[in-house]
């Protein structure tokens, strides 16, 4: 299987959240992201730091991860970013 690069993994995580009505609990997100716990924790921290996702405590469901508007914009522009990176071999 082809190794996913960093931007692709970020896209995949954000896509899972989007397809789950914009929010998801930690455990199913870890499972659906196909990453080890350690790597998932790194990506989660990075996505939070880049403000592509946010974590909120919901009264009924507990702690959930939400897709931010910036995260949504990343998904919309992902193809263009990848094309740009490939075109300039960055």
């Amino acid at each position: 299987m082809r190794k996913r690069d960093k931007l692709e993994i970020m896209r995949d995580i954000l896509k899972v959240i989007k397809e789950n009505h914009m929010h998801i609990k930690m455990t199913p997100l870890l499972r659906k992201s196909n990453l080890s716990s350690k790597r998932f924790a790194d990506y989660r921290a990075e996505l939070l730091q880049k403000e592509l996702i946010e974590e909120r405590e919901e009264r009924k469901t507990g702690k959930q991860i939400f897709l931010t508007s910036k995260g949504m914009e990343f998904l919309e522009k992902y193809k263009a970013i990848i094309n740009f990176v490939n075109e300039f071999e960055l």
Partner: protein
């Protein structure tokens, strides 16, 4: 009167100003049009690419400023110019910005091959600052030209092995060639400024090819950014 004549007369300062202006605008357009992409992805390669064009804009600004000072102060030799305080200052910023522009463009392509990334950029900044200061202090601009030739050779050799490594469906990008030509013409630009007595026709040729290369890169950037 002589100043007015030189400003109006093509192939001198007027030409230099237009030429630098076009390249500065192209470079800044590349820098600002890719801001959104970088803000969203925080991708290192995009960052280095953008930084390269920011430094190209700064370098060309100082290049035209140096030409302007040459004209105003009626100086014809870079060594004479480097005895003035303003001359030393502008030369220093020009040398620093031009070398960093070249370095960032190279690094935007090869950064993934470097394991240690935290100290690379600060170290290069310090090194280039020291070399720029040194070449002015000992009044030997050829040191800087030598450094740029060294970077160019490194790129050419790296490029050769990188293309060799690519297999099957992965074709080598033609952008490497554009970068190599860009470096060659940047060094000719430097030589034009630092070494007196350049052929005017050659100066025009360097200017035209340089503008063409920046326009090609800008077109490719706008095409990609526009599609998002």
């Amino acid at each position: 009167m002589a100043v007015i004549e030189q400003v109006l007369f093509p192939n001198t300062f007027g030409m230099e100003l237009i030429y630098s202006f076009v390249i500065i605008v192209c470079s800044l357009l590349v820098y600002f049009s890719t801001k959104k992409m970088y803000d969203l992805s925080k991708y290192q390669g995009i960052k280095y690419f953008r930084m390269s064009f920011l430094f190209f804009a700064i370098a060309y600004f100082f290049k035209s400023f140096i030409s302007f000072l040459f004209l105003i102060l009626e100086i014809h030799e870079i060594l004479e110019f480097s005895t003035l305080f303003l001359g030393v200052l502008t030369l220093f910023f020009f040398m620093y910005a031009s070398t960093m522009a070249i370095f960032y463009l190279l690094y935007s392509v090869v950064w993934k091959d470097f394991k240690e990334k935290r100290f690379t950029i600060p170290l290069i900044h310090i090194l280039v600052l020291v070399i720029s200061a040194l070449s002015i202090a000992i009044r030997e601009v050829k040191i800087l030209l030598g450094l740029q030739i060294f970077i160019f050779l490194f790129i050419a050799i790296y490029n050769h092995f990188h293309i060799k490594k690519l297999k099957g469906s992965k074709k080598p990008g033609h952008l490497h060639m554009i970068y190599l030509i860009l470096f060659v013409f940047w060094m000719l630009n430097l030589a034009d400024l630092l070494i007196s007595g350049f052929n005017p026709i050659l100066e025009i040729l360097i200017s035209m090819v340089s503008i063409g290369l920046f326009l090609v890169i800008l077109y490719k950037v706008v095409k990609n950014v526009g599609s998002s």
